[in-house]
């Protein structure tokens, strides 16, 4: 589904990302882990064509993302709060995203109904603007909005950060369900090794922009990751 070749990104001579080749098949739940500055968000931004690659390219479902915009209809994402429109209510925001993705209000409402638990009665019908919601609730809105319109690729940057424990557990269920039953390719990044091993079939470890590990998740993965990250010595 997503092919990355010879991708690199440099900021004034400083290499922040260098991926020779990375292939993510359709329907895989893919986890990206790494310390701060490892290049996770850079990779996602390149995937969304928000920044320009220095060399190489990413092909998303046969569309080269920095050459054509045809990847947009089937790709959705939530990277950070700047994906929210502060002066809309959550409902209006969902409808707006829905309209951009060709969904009418009824479609959106049907989808939202499935996330009643997830919202924990703090989002819908509260007559509040998004800018006035707490960080955690904003995140919930952003994540659910990324699920509108049956996307085939979903990109979530640090989805577990800022969420309360109950919601984290629910979110794990949602992500697993998407990849397993609907064949959606889900890409997430996280600092939380436990969550990411719980959710993802495959985990890639980035370090200073380079892939250092590429693991199929199994019972030993968490131990291996923990060992890896406690060994890293800062040079």
């Amino acid at each position: 589904m997503i092919k990355t070749s010879n991708l690199s990104k440099k900021y004034s001579g400083n290499q922040v990302l260098n991926i020779e080749s990375l292939e993510i098949p359709k329907g895989q739940s893919f986890g990206l882990v790494g310390n701060n500055g490892a290049g996770k968000t850079t990779y996602f931004s390149l995937l969304l064509d928000l920044i320009q690659p220095t060399t190489g390219f990413i092909i998303n479902n046969e569309v080269q993302v920095n050459a054509s915009e045809a990847w947009k209809p089937f790709t959705s994402s939530f990277i950070d709060e700047s994906f929210l429109i502060g002066y809309l209510t959550p409902e209006e925001y969902f409808y707006f995203i829905g309209e951009l993705r060709g969904q009418n209000r009824a479609d959106v409402n049907a989808l939202l109904l499935q996330f009643k638990d997830f919202f924990h009665d703090e989002i819908l019908g509260k007559r509040k603007y998004l800018r006035d919601l707490s960080k955690g609730n904003q995140k919930k809105v952003g994540i659910v909005a990324a699920l509108i319109g049956h996307p085939e690729v979903i990109i979530l940057d640090e989805p577990f950060a800022n969420l309360d424990p109950t919601t984290q557990i629910r979110l794990k269920g949602i992500i697993k369900n998407l990849a397993e039953t609907k064949g959606v390719t889900v890409l997430i990044s996280s600092h939380d090794l436990l969550h990411v091993t719980d959710v993802c079939e495959r985990i890639v470890v980035l370090e200073k922009g380079v892939i250092v590990k590429d693991l199929e998740t199994n019972a030993a993965t968490l131990k291996e990751l923990e060992a890896h990250f406690s060994e890293i010595v800062l040079v």
């Binding site: 928000l50 700047s82 002066y87 707006f96 951009l100």
Partner: protein, 493 residues
């Protein structure tokens, strides 16, 4: 401590992403400042001679004193619209070992160094010196009089911040100051309470007996303390620094669905305008723009100058266009990444902005039809101006937006920030106004009034006819600037 603060200010100014652009603007502002300095200097130097010539048998100082009331009132009104309390992001400082007192004193102290406080000195000092040298007035008296005037300038400075902070919570924040200053002026003008004489007596008293200078000093200290208290209270997270949570006002915008595929953007834009303070205040400016013509058309000298009609026409039908248009796409800066990764076409996004601006021109033209009272020619010119606005100026605005690199923070985060859309932005409208005006003046001078109307209308019609083509070109321009815009809009300054 002060040094640290100044250092922070310096860095925030020079390290901001929009530095290059705001530098250009600052140079332009410097020229405007120079212009005002020259005018005030001229007033100060010539004041004495003009007054002794006009009123040879009267004391020029007493006459000047009688005008001080108007000076102060005017100063207050002008400041209200143009001077803002210096902004400083204080939240990061709160948990550091810095006394709140120091932060407040710094902000207030910084405001003293405003251009508005120095400008009057250019009149006061030369006028005073000439009074001593030419008029033979006692030096001590004149100097204490000059000092009193400077104190009054500072009083106005601090009074203005109090008024601004009280009224800023209000939507029609300008209404109280206009009403009060208008009321005071009326009281004086119709001799109900002669405030100008009262102020005159006061300053004469200071001149005759410098001890009275204590009065303005006390007032100044009092106002400073009030300001100090008000700002200090705002330095708590749960008070001034917290954003107020507003109840949502839901409005039915289904009628926009008639516009087809741009409807979602149109709804977004309308909500943007109505739900954010910065944009909302610009709606009220429309009224001002609409009534602007009354200043000119009630004056016979301007009625004989048709090139002024086009100026008023473009201005009054295009006030929304200029207000809103110049910040495209910066209005959407805080969620620009979303728009860029969503399933949207740039063309629709821009078309929605165009539609909004074009519609505003039509509406403002219709509202301005009563100007026909001043003559048919005016209505005709306004009509031409409206066409020109739709065909030319809207496109210029959208095109100009592709150079926009400065984010607009819709949720006013900076504390002490009473900033709505300031009057500064009108400056950018100047080329939009001057070009049609010059064109009109030239053509009507060399050929005829009708010809000038026809040419401007034709330009507008050409713009409308080639609308699709122009928008395509503009869209490419936006696409090319995509990455730099995303990057610039991520910066907070």
């Amino acid at each position: 401590m002060i040094n640290t603060f100044l250092n922070l200010e310096w860095k925030s100014f020079f390290r901001s992403a929009s530095f290059g652009k705001s530098l250009g603007l600052k140079i332009f502002m410097a020229f405007i400042a120079l212009y005002f300095i020259v005018i005030f200097l001229g007033l100060g130097v010539s004041g004495y001679f003009v007054l002794t010539e006009e009123f040879p048998d009267k004391n020029p100082l007493l006459i000047a004193n009688n005008y001080l009331f108007y000076w102060i009132l005017g100063d207050l009104v002008v400041r209200f619209f143009f001077q803002k309390l210096p902004v400083m992001s204080v939240k990061p400082l709160l948990t550091l070992p810095i006394k709140r007192r120091k932060i407040v004193n710094f902000v207030l102290g910084k405001s003293v160094f405003s251009f508005f406080n120095f400008l009057p000195l250019f009149t006061i000092i030369p006028f005073g010196i000439i009074l001593i040298v030419k008029g033979g007035f006692a030096a001590v008296s004149v100097i204490s009089w000059m000092f009193a005037l400077f104190l009054v300038t500072l009083i106005v400075n601090f009074l203005n911040f109090i008024i601004e902070s009280i009224t800023s919570e209000n939507e029609l924040s300008a209404l109280p100051i206009i009403a009060i200053s208008g009321g005071l002026f009326a009281l004086d003008y119709f001799n109900i309470v002669s405030l100008s004489n009262g102020f005159g007596y006061g300053f004469t008293a200071i001149f005759e007996n410098p001890v009275f200078i204590v009065v303005p000093i006390l007032v100044l200290v009092g106002l400073y303390l009030v300001n100090f208290k008000m700002l200090r209270q705002k330095l708590f997270l749960d008070n001034g620094l917290k954003n107020k949570i507003e109840e949502v006002v839901v409005s039915n915008l289904d009628w926009t669905n008639n516009f087809g595929d741009i409807a979602p953007f149109l709804q977004l834009d309308l909500k943007l305008i109505w739900r954010n303070k910065r944009t909302k205040s610009s709606v009220w400016m429309l009224l001002l723009g609409l009534l602007y013509g009354l200043f000119f058309y009630t004056n016979d000298t301007y009625l004989d100058m048709p090139s002024f009609y086009i100026f008023i026409g473009v201005f009054s039908t295009g006030s929304f266009l200029m207000n809103f248009g110049q910040f495209i796409p910066a209005w959407d800066a805080s969620y620009y990444k979303l728009l860029m990764s969503q399933n949207i076409k740039y063309e629709q996004y821009l078309k929605s902005k165009f539609t909004l601006m074009a519609a505003s021109v039509v509406i403002l033209f219709v509202l301005g039809i009563p100007y026909v009272y001043f003559g048919w020619k005016i209505l005709l010119v306004h009509f031409v101006a409206a066409i020109y606005n739709i065909g030319v100026n809207t496109h210029v605005m959208i095109y100009g937006g592709s150079f926009n690199r400065k984010k607009i923070d819709l949720d006013k985060k900076a504390a002490f920030n009473y900033q709505g859309t300031g009057a500064m932005q009108w400056l950018i409208g100047i080329p939009l106004l001057v070009v049609p005006m010059v064109l009109f003046a030239l053509i009507s001078y060399f050929t005829s009034f009708e010809m000038a109307c026809a040419v401007l209308a034709a330009l507008g019609v050409i713009g409308i006819v080639f609308h699709k083509k122009i928008m395509e070109a503009i869209t490419t321009k936006y696409l090319n600037a995509k990455y730099t815009m995303i990057h610039a809009f991520e910066q907070d300054n």
